[in-house]
């Protein structure tokens, strides 16, 4: 506790530190909300300047940016079906339908509270047990376990958002196939690029997410206008009640746990956390058929988990010097600029700095709550803009976002093709969520499977004899079989075969 108070005093000890704290906070909220341009963009721009700051200020900026940037993308996901980042994609599944039902305030309010809650919980866990948890993560979770976890996630996702089980599996299969375009992640062999050089880089999931969500939504709403059945989203700022949250207490607790678990594994992070949490929310719900149609629990599950992953991702970084993603890797660079090596010795040589990071992330999550509510009161007015003005703005923003990812014109084309595809698939009951999950997890899964097979000398028995692998694979297969049996018996609560 004394160390935390010292960290707090250092954090707010000078006007410059306070200014940097708020720059990170507001910068993350803004950059996180713009599709294609996310917190990594701001982090990269700021990197050369971080050498001019003190070590604690520089590291603190990145920690705060990480928290607020992860939340920032939820707002556009809910209001316009444009996830600011992949980890906000599951938020759009139910957040946007809530907006259409006049519950945007409730959805954003839930996202704000859950992001802050999930983030705060993970920071508290991080403060209590960073070195121990980091050891557990690297000792018990190698490539075989990560592959098994991805398999489990995909098995669970196969029925999310689709009209029938077959269509769910086909959707995930399509996503997995799309993930194979480009160079394979193991040996760099060219696949499905048809001698087109730009396809060598593969299909990036950001343009596809923008196409699936934003562009297809513009097509859907445009069709409604042409047919004269368009309903302008109702403007309402009603926030979720305490009673509504109390009903979701188990979902929140589960999402904190899943988000924390996924975040602590190097190379996994917030995206898988959000998808896993959303899938589990559907699986445990008594009314799974309501998901995808504006269920508050969907927003809660996704946003709690992705922010819970932020604190967890700091654990392998600080305790072991292992960055899990691009932003934590940039933080390694910032540490090194100040002659500090993250890893076990950082707790001995620079414990004051570590506690500044802990304190900064704790207060950043509290501040998200306050700023998020202020943001909610203002951004909801965007819904008053008539569709004929809003649609071109969405398309323009999406186009900029798709192009900004890699500066490839192909990505803009991919986005519009994905938009058209999603427009057709949504009408026929296929799952956009399943396709995106397959696309995002396909390469990661393939890479970890190849590494895992090399590690066990291509011996499947050794592979499945690892207890965690066996449990996750069994759970995945059991999920598939159970869904199949239920669908055959007509007892799958909304999902037919």
């Amino acid at each position: 506790m004394e160390a935390f108070i010292d960290g707090t005093l250092t954090l707010f000890g000078s006007p410059l530190s306070v200014l940097i704290f708020f720059c990170g906070l507001i910068g993350g909220l803004l950059f996180g909300a713009i599709p294609g341009i996310n917190m990594l963009t701001l982090a990269a721009i700021f990197l050369p300047f971080s050498g001019l700051l003190s070590a604690s200020d520089a590291i603190m900026f990145y920690s705060v940016l990480y928290c607020s940037g992860t939340y920032g993308g939820a707002v556009t996901a809910i209001l316009f079906n444009i996830p600011g980042a992949p980890e906000n994609a599951p938020t759009a599944f139910d957040g946007y339908p809530m907006t259409q039902k006049g519950q945007a305030g409730k959805a954003i309010g839930a996202a704000v509270i859950c992001s802050a809650f999930g983030g705060t919980c993970s920071v508290l866990l991080m403060m209590l047990a960073t070195p121990v948890l980091a050891e557990v993560a690297v000792v018990y979770f190698g490539p075989p376990e990560i592959f098994a976890l991805i398999f489990f996630g995909i098995a669970v996702a196969s029925s999310v958002g689709a009209r029938t089980l077959w269509k769910g599996w086909l959707s995930v299969g399509l996503g997995l196939m799309m993930a194979t375009v480009g160079l394979d992640p193991v040996a760099g062999i060219e696949r499905y690029n048809f001698d087109y050089v730009y396809l060598l880089a593969g299909l990036h999931f950001i343009p596809i997410i923008l196409g699936f969500f934003a562009v297809s939504e513009v097509f859907v709403q445009a069709e409604k206008r042409v047919r004269g059945i368009y309903d302008m989203p109702k403007f309402a700022t009603s926030f979720p009640s305490v009673a509504e949250f109390w009903k979701l207490r188990f979902a929140v607790a589960r999402s904190v746990g899943l988000g924390f678990f996924a975040g602590i594994l190097p190379g996994i992070g917030a995206t898988l956390a959000a998808f896993l949490s959303y899938n589990e929310a559907v699986r445990w719900s008594k009314t799974p058929e309501k998901f995808g149609r504006g269920e508050l629990e969907g927003v809660v599950a996704s946003e709690t988990a992705n922010n819970a992953a932020t604190g967890a991702a700091m654990i392998p970084l600080l305790a072991l010097g292992l960055p899990g993603g691009a932003l934590t890797a940039m933080m390694v660079g910032v540490f090194q600029m100040h002659d500090i090596e993250p890893g076990p010795l950082v707790f001995i040589n620079s414990s004051d700095l570590v506690w500044v990071v802990f304190a900064a992330m704790f207060y950043a999550n509290i501040a998200i709550l306050v700023l998020g509510f202020l943001e909610t009161k203002t951004v909801l007015h965007l819904l008053k803009i008539p569709f004929q003005y809003l649609a071109p703005a969405i398309l323009l923003l999406s186009t900029v976002g798709a192009y900004a990812v890699r500066s490839l014109p192909m990505d803009v084309v991919v986005m519009f093709v994905a938009g058209l595809l999603a427009y057709l698939l949504r009408r026929t009951g296929y799952s956009v969520a399943g396709i995106i999950l397959g696309l995002i997890l396909g390469k990661l899964g393939e890479q970890n499977f190849a590494l895992a097979m090399q590690m066990v000398s291509y011996d499947m028995w050794v592979f499945i004899s690892r207890p965690i692998v066996a449990i996750l694979l069994f759970a995945g297969f059991a999920t598939i079989v159970t869904n199949l049996i239920r669908a055959l018996g007509g007892r799958n609560r909304g999902i037919a075969l």
């Binding site: 000792v139 979770f141 190698g142 760099g188 190097p266 072991l320 600029m337 500066s407």
Partner: protein, 340 residues
């Protein structure tokens, strides 16, 4: 036997080139002008740097240090863009797909050279690309966990690997035909053991694999794992140099364990597409070479043990290094039957 002698002479020649050209390259770099006019206002926006490996490993670290160095020396902003996969091939081919306008540069390692030599890549790093600067040349070591109980030095490690009958694992960064694989295959051949070499493209996963005991050992360069060495998490058990460097005086060298082949070195540098406008290439050559000589970059290299071997190569020095290395790789692959 004749092939082996030829090979030894080639590699020895390469080592002489490494040290000799290094001194020459460093002298040339000291004569760089302090300022240089921007050609036609270039660059008007931040540059992008494709890094073909994950952000946590050696390439990620050297890229960020060079980005800082270039910023310090010239004020140019560069954004890193990590494209791990396929032992560096994903990033390399992605780079070639980017517009050749000077706004995108590439970081790459000797993998680009070995991949061309073995026929896995059609991109010759000294022909299709122009090296702006080579900024790191270093030797490799084999590491075990600091807390390892099954073996604790080179002799006990060899005994352990032999007892595993080919199932022992060692992590590295690159696939078939790479510097790591060739060096490790030669070590294995000398001691008569088989080992599973597993390539992790991301540094975090690679180091996590050893730290967590997912693999038995790690083939890496000392600068990339300095933090783990300082903390005692990793312990070097063999240095792939004939003599023990002063920084690792207690670690056995190749001579100590009876290895006689000349080891291949790791080098990392920065490149630009040969089709980029010539005036922009010249400007970036100046900017990156100035970046190398900044205090921040020099401090980084020193901390990463990159002062033990002269690391700097300007464009011409880099081309010579790449071409010499290419010749050695081709001979080695021929000897191993990997190419005709």
């Amino acid at each position: 036997m004749h092939t082996l002698n030829l090979l030894r002479r080639s590699v020895l020649g390469l080592l002489i080139a490494l040290f000799g050209a290094g001194i020459a390259g460093a002298a040339g770099a000291a004569q760089l002008p302090d300022t240089m006019a921007k050609p036609g206002g270039f660059p008007e926006r931040p540059l992008s740097m494709i890094v073909p490996y994950g952000p946590g490993g050696g390439s990620g670290q050297v890229s960020r240090a060079m980005i800082q160095g270039v910023k310090d020396a010239t004020g140019i902003d560069i954004t890193p863009d990590y494209k791990p996969g396929g032992s560096g091939m994903v990033g390399l081919k992605t780079y070639m797909a980017a517009p050749a306008d000077g706004y995108t540069v590439l970081e790459h390692i000797d993998d680009a050279t070995s991949a061309f030599a073995i026929g896995k890549s059609k991109i010759h790093p000294a022909v299709n690309l122009i090296p702006l600067v080579i900024s790191q040349i270093t030797f490799s070591q084999i590491y075990i966990r600091g807390k390892e109980t099954r073996f604790n030095d080179w002799d006990s490690y060899v005994k352990f690997v032999k007892a595993q009958g080919g199932k022992s694992t060692i992590a590295n960064v690159s696939g078939e035909g790479s510097m790591e694989r060739i060096n490790m295959n030669r070590i294995a051949g000398h001691f008569g053991f088989k080992v599973q070499q597993i390539s992790f493209n991301k540094g975090g996963q690679r180091y996590g694999a050893l730290k967590g005991g997912q693999v038995d050992a790690l083939f890496e360069q000392p600068g990339d794992v300095r933090g783990f060495l300082d903390s005692g998490d990793f312990k070097p058990i063999l240095t792939l140099l004939f003599e023990r460097p002063s920084a690792f005086a207690k670690v056995p060298s190749m001579k100590d364990v009876g290895l006689t082949f000349t080891p291949l070195m790791r080098f990392r540098g920065f490149y630009i597409n040969k089709n980029a406008p010539a005036d922009r290439v010249k400007y970036l050559q100046w900017a990156f070479q100035k970046g190398f000589h900044t205090d921040s970059y020099q401090a980084f290299n020193k901390k990463k043990f990159m002062d033990l071997i002269p690391s700097f190569r300007d464009t011409e020095g880099a081309k010579k290094l790449i071409n010499d290395t290419m010749g050695v790789y081709k001979k080695v692959y021929k000897e191993m039957g990997l190419v005709k």
